[in-house]
Amino acid sequence: MPDQHNQHIQLAEESIEKQTTTLNMGPTHPATHGIFENVLEIDGEIVLSSTQKLGYIHRAFEKIAERRPYGQIQPLTDRLNYCSSPINNIGWQLTVEKLLGLEMPKRVDYLRVIIMELARISDHLVCNSVVAVDTGALTPFTYVFQMRERIYEIYESVCGARLTTNIGRIGGFERNFTDETWSKLNEFMRLFPKSLEEFETLLNRNRIFMDRCIGAGKISAERALNYGFTGPNLRATGVDYDVRVHTPYSSYQDFDFKIPVGTVGDVYDRFMVRNGEMWESYSIIQQAIAKVKDLDPSIYHADVPAYYLPEKKEVYTKMEALIYHFKIVMGEIDIKAGEVYHPVEGGNGELGFYLISDGGRTPFRLHFRRPCFIYYQAYPEMIKNGLLSDAVIALSSLNVIAGELDA
């Protein structure tokens, strides 16, 4: 079949050969950083078109959630964007709390902010250092992963887990921050600026890195909005939409921070926006630590015994605690009917929970608005007529996480 490309390749009329090459990038490929597939049509090194295939790790969370009591849905959210699980967990808690009309004490809000911003830092560290890896610089990756390890240790001391955290509960945290948590957090706060500065020194003005990233995987603000971009990828095009500022949740209105934006929406802008956001997250954590100091250190959950799982020692000694424990575990808490959409600013953008309750013990319908799934459809347009190697860094700078694509 004749093609407008590679006209110099003369093929016989009946030939089954093509003038272009089909290249499978994925389902398992080092450049995809997850299980999804891109089928690229390439002419030499130029990408002419591409088709995306996803669903390789689809786990039917929305269906499973229709059979789970509210507390048991939280572990499912861990596995959406697994680079920043705590944001998903807390987003789910906030959604249910909105439906139930629960008001959190300020200290719980601030502790949640600390955890969510740590998660954002670890998410952006992974994304940005992987952009560097895909441009051929492995060193920064190994450096900043020490910081990510420290963040994971903080999660571990709060909830016992590292990657799929299941941190916090509906109504607050499962336990208070211990002295060990605080000392790990303070140590992180002491070391992180130096580490991020080092990371920026290695890359931000690095000529080779800049030449690779500037102009690659571009998208205009108008197209990005039409494609439903949110989060750092939208902000890189120059649109300052941030859920934390537009629809504050968990007392984000009490914090003073900037929204870093880019100009042209290429790989370099996305990289710089994420770096800027890490500095802002760092400043938010600093402010949160200062605010928490003035509050009663014994508060780590709201006083809502009907929804918040009581402490084990009370379950063994107090009648009410035992009753509530049983009701919560068996999914027999009173949930009113209602329709809630609650967005939070996830690592990749607006993570929305659309929850419909009919008053039963499980949601009637739960839908996750996954930012990755929505903006990844712009990928063919972003890499069209670019180099294959630009397609690789465009993919990693979009931070496409398979868990969030497939739900």
């Binding site: 669903g55 419909i356 009637f364």
Partner: protein, 167 residues
Amino acid sequence: MSLTNEYIQGRLSEKFGTDVSDFEETFGIFSFNIKAEKNIQALQFLFEDNALGFQFLTDITAIHYPDRVAQELCVVYHLHNLVANKRIRMRLSVPIVQPDVNSATSLYSSANWMERETYDFFGVIFVGHPDLTRILNVDEMDYFPMRKEYPMEDPTRSDKDDAMFGR
């Protein structure tokens, strides 16, 4: 000028008359129902009108209500005016035997996969969609798994029903 619920309701009622109904605000989001055939006109009106300006499509999904006769599938659009920071929700219902809904892909590029996902799980047919194929499930699947007639576990099992918990 701030975008109030009353203003949006007034403009929509003026434009679509009795085709829009059930205006309500739940948990901070103003929502309404629209006649299924009018969905694209409504989206376009909300998009292009200068005062309304709902130009960001947050989400499309569907809900299956098996008890609503001839209105079983409900398609939900979440729209956002980023400038005025106002969210609205538009719902429409179609019968499960003929779940045809006009596609919003000409207005929003983002609608493409959202509609494919809704088709994949609920079988809503988006008329005018460029490539209405399954996206997350396997191509060979011959049913729409998020519909309520497909229970998660063994359908004969009753120990996890609401009835067992006094509801």
